[in-house]
């Protein structure tokens, strides 16, 4: 929640002079009385809000320890420094995604509420996260997005679904390379011992797969076709002849191909250049390779016991997860605001339109939505202001490794000025950037006030 949780709408002041007769003596007396009422608030606001703004403006033009005047250098740093730049970029993502998502969800919930009998219960459930701290919400989301499917409920659900639908679970748990056939096991994956040049072949003779565990479509292993110059081909097969016999490492009668195995061509720097998948006879073709040497490897996903979970808290997904937690909290706010707008609405227009044969969607688009526009605007603006200042969730949810990827301006401001950075010049500049970003909403607030006063 923010202090200014809601963009304000103003009740106009009474027209001046309508209250009481005003002579100069009385005016002065009223001024003193007013001062008595206003003093505590004005002193606190002046000393703890207005003065700091001025100080921060000046401080932002001084160096880290405040000893030297540096002009706009801190502002230049802000946009060139990697972590600050990530923070600004993430804030942009936040502003684009979070307020819109919350508002749309809130609108949908508010409209659907009308159609159920347990509307009050539903509202309480969706709105409840607004009451708890973002810290608690952060702990909650960090718990449910844990990577291990045994601990995080999201991955548990995904793995359970995959297994129920026979999805890409590991096909050959426990498979191992046959010794002395030119392949070795390494950290769960199996790779070629020596480099393979594009246009070459690499077979994988594996053991440790029980015949009963073989997929039904597994067929007699076949020797792969000769590769063209941009291909690597080969056969992945179970190097066992039923009933014994045969030569180790050779594709022979009685040996079964292993279908559905992923085969990667890995370059010297460890990146995967291209991949292929084996057919029923265990043959694979990796195409589109540039000339050069590759390690051909069967990645660990082919052999791991059960499916692994998605690393939700890794750098790739972290901002998405944090935004999701924000939506969990603030969709309720949007819903309650919009629902109260709906319930205050005179429904006769909608009824008339329905009687005239308008469809439910037309009624919503042509009548309800336009009437709701003011409320929706207020919700949207409030959420934008709120999202710009987002701190707690981003501070709490990402584990250490993905903190840099999740960075936002408010967290960066804390980090550079208090969390070890100790650069209060840059910190002040970042604080001012935040102030600058909410400036448009301040102007909107003031204009609305003046407009309503003129009425």
């Amino acid at each position: 929640m923010t202090e200014a949780a809601v963009a304000p709408a103003v009740t106009p002041s009474p027209k001046s002079g309508s209250r009481r007769p005003s002579g100069t003596g009385s005016r002065r007396r009223m001024f003193l009385i007013a001062l008595g009422f206003l003093a505590p608030a004005l002193v606190l606001l002046g000393a703890l809000v207005v003065y700091p703004i001025v100080y921060t403006v000046i401080r932002s033009m001084f160096s880290a320890d405040g000893s030297a005047f540096v002009g706009f250098e801190n502002y230049a740093t802000m946009f060139t420094n990697d972590s600050t730049f990530t923070a600004i970029r993430n804030n942009i993502i936040w502003v684009i995604v979070a307020p819109a998502a919350c508002t749309i969800l809130g609108l949908v919930f508010a409209v659907l509420l009308d159609k159920i009998k347990w509307a009050t219960a539903f509202k309480l459930i969706i709105f409840m996260p607004m009451a708890i701290s973002m810290l608690a919400a952060g702990v909650i989301f960090r718990t449910i997005f844990q990577e291990s499917p045994n601990l995080g409920v999201v991955n548990a659900a995904i793995v359970a679904t995959q297994e129920a639908f026979g999805g890409p679970t590991a096909a050959y748990p426990g498979a191992e390379p046959r010794e002395d056939t030119g392949i070795i096991a390494e950290q769960g994956s199996v790779g070629s011992e020596s480099a393979v040049t594009a246009g070459g072949q690499q077979d994988f003779a594996l053991v440790g797969v029980r015949a009963s565990e073989l997929p039904e479509n597994a067929a007699q292993a076949e020797v792969a076709e000769a590769p063209s110059s941009d291909q690597i081909t080969g056969t992945v097969f179970l190097d066992v002849v039923r009933g014994g016999g045969g030569t180790n490492g050779e594709v022979e009668d009685g040996k079964t191909g292993l279908p559905g195995v992923t085969v990667d061509a890995v370059t010297a720097d460890g990146s995967i250049a291209a991949s292929g998948t084996t057919d029923d006879s265990g043959r694979y073709v990796i195409e589109g390779l540039g000339s050069g040497d590759y390690t051909v490897a069967l990645p660990a996903s082919n052999f791991q016991e059960g499916a692994g979970g998605v690393s939700w808290l890794s750098s790739a997904f972290i901002t998405g997860v944090v935004i999701l937690s924000y939506i969990w909290i603030w969709a309720g706010f949007a819903m309650v605001m919009i629902a109260s707008g709906l319930s205050a609405m005179d429904r006769s227009l909608q009824e008339a339109a329905r009687v005239d044969g308008a469809s439910e969607f037309q009624v919503f688009r042509r009548i309800t939505a336009p009437l709701l526009a003011p409320v929706i605007t207020v919700v949207f603006v409030t959420l934008i202001i709120n999202v710009l200042k987002i701190f707690d969730l981003v501070y709490v949810i990402p584990p250490g490794a993905s903190k840099p990827a999740a960075n936002v301006i408010a967290v960066e401001m804390w980090t550079v000025s208090f969390g070890g950075g100790n650069n209060q010049g840059l910190g002040s500049a970042l604080a001012l950037l935040l102030l600058l970003l909410v400036l448009p909403s301040m102007i909107i607030n003031v204009r609305r006030f003046r407009k309503e006063r003129e009425r």
Partner: protein, 294 residues
């Protein structure tokens, strides 16, 4: 704004509407039940985690508790209540949230009354300043106030945090109270003035009692905000004065091994806000609506 935020006004429907609605309703009900479950699962999960031992939490998910109810234990809470850092911070949270709420309500009402009913030169300009201050980010005050509090010995004290919260809570409070006081019938004040009552008497004996609903809304809003704050306290408190949120976040570094303190602690920090929320949600909703709906 008189509409309670959590009731739904039902329009009357035509017969055709009802027949169509009957089939639509089933779908809507199912969709909303699924949504409600999605919204509940996170909190329920945290609560159940807090009722399982560290070992159980490290080896399996909270949902296994439905298969093995024997996992249930209040051990985590028992440990938490014997942890001086946690109980101390719980006490600090109260010492921060209650005085802040009282001060914000009092000073906000006083100023709100002046803006609503006392004519003084520059009133509208001053009000515009308050409106501008509504959206000022907390961040602009961190560095200056850390220095100021440091030089006058308030840094790291509960009083410093309270002052910070009061100052940043005031613009919204003034605004809310002013808008509410504007709706008090002017004749009431005129009558009191004609009887020779001073503005102070009018404020305390006439206006303030009428303002109870607005005060309740403001108080609940401010209390929840201050209770739940982590950012301000993270900067302005030390290990002696830190509130619950800061004490809990310090355990985050070892998330897995501290899950007992984290889950139980987080839930402990939620209990008071949840009670306040469920008891007074009408006022809380009204505080949110206060500015926007007219």
């Amino acid at each position: 704004m008189t509409v309670s935020g959590l009731t739904v006004v039902k329009g009357k429907k035509t017969l055709a509407q009802r027949i169509l609605g009957f089939f639509g309703k089933g779908v809507v009900n199912v969709v909303l039940i699924v949504v409600a479950l999605f919204w509940l699962i996170p909190s329920v999960g945290l609560f159940l985690s807090s009722l399982r031992s560290v070992g159980d939490n490290a080896s399996s998910g909270w949902w296994t508790i439905f298969l093995e109810p024997a996992q249930l234990t209040i051990e985590n809470y028992a440990n938490l209540l014997q942890n001086d850092a946690i109980t101390g911070s719980f006490f600090n949270t109260i010492m921060i949230a209650v005085p802040t709420t009282v001060a914000v309500v009092l000073f906000g009402s006083l100023a709100g009354f002046a803006f609503a009913w006392i004519q003084f030169p520059g009133r509208d300009w001053l009000l515009i300043v308050v409106i501008i201050l509504l959206a000022v980010p907390l961040q602009v005050a961190f560095i200056p106030l850390a220095q100021m509090f440091g030089s006058i010995g308030l840094f790291g004290s509960v009083l410093g945090v309270v002052l910070f919260h009061v100052a940043f809570g005031l613009p919204f409070a003034i605004f809310l109270m002013r808008n509410f006081f504007m709706q008090v019938p002017g004749e009431l004040l005129e009558a009191a003035r004609l009887d020779g009552a001073s503005e102070w008497r009018i404020f305390f004996l006439v206006v303030l009692p009428l303002g109870t609903p607005a005060i309740a809304s403001l108080a609940i809003f401010q209390f929840l905000w201050t209770w739940n704050d982590m950012l301000v306290s993270l900067i302005f408190t030390n290990s002696q004065s830190q509130p619950l949120t800061v004490a809990i976040q310090s355990q985050l570094r070892q998330f897995g091994s501290n899950i007992d303190v984290l889950s139980a602690g987080a839930f402990l920090s939620m209990i008071v806000p949840l009670i306040v929320f469920f008891a007074f949600q009408r006022f809380f909703v009204q505080a949110l609506l206060a500015g926007s709906n007219r």
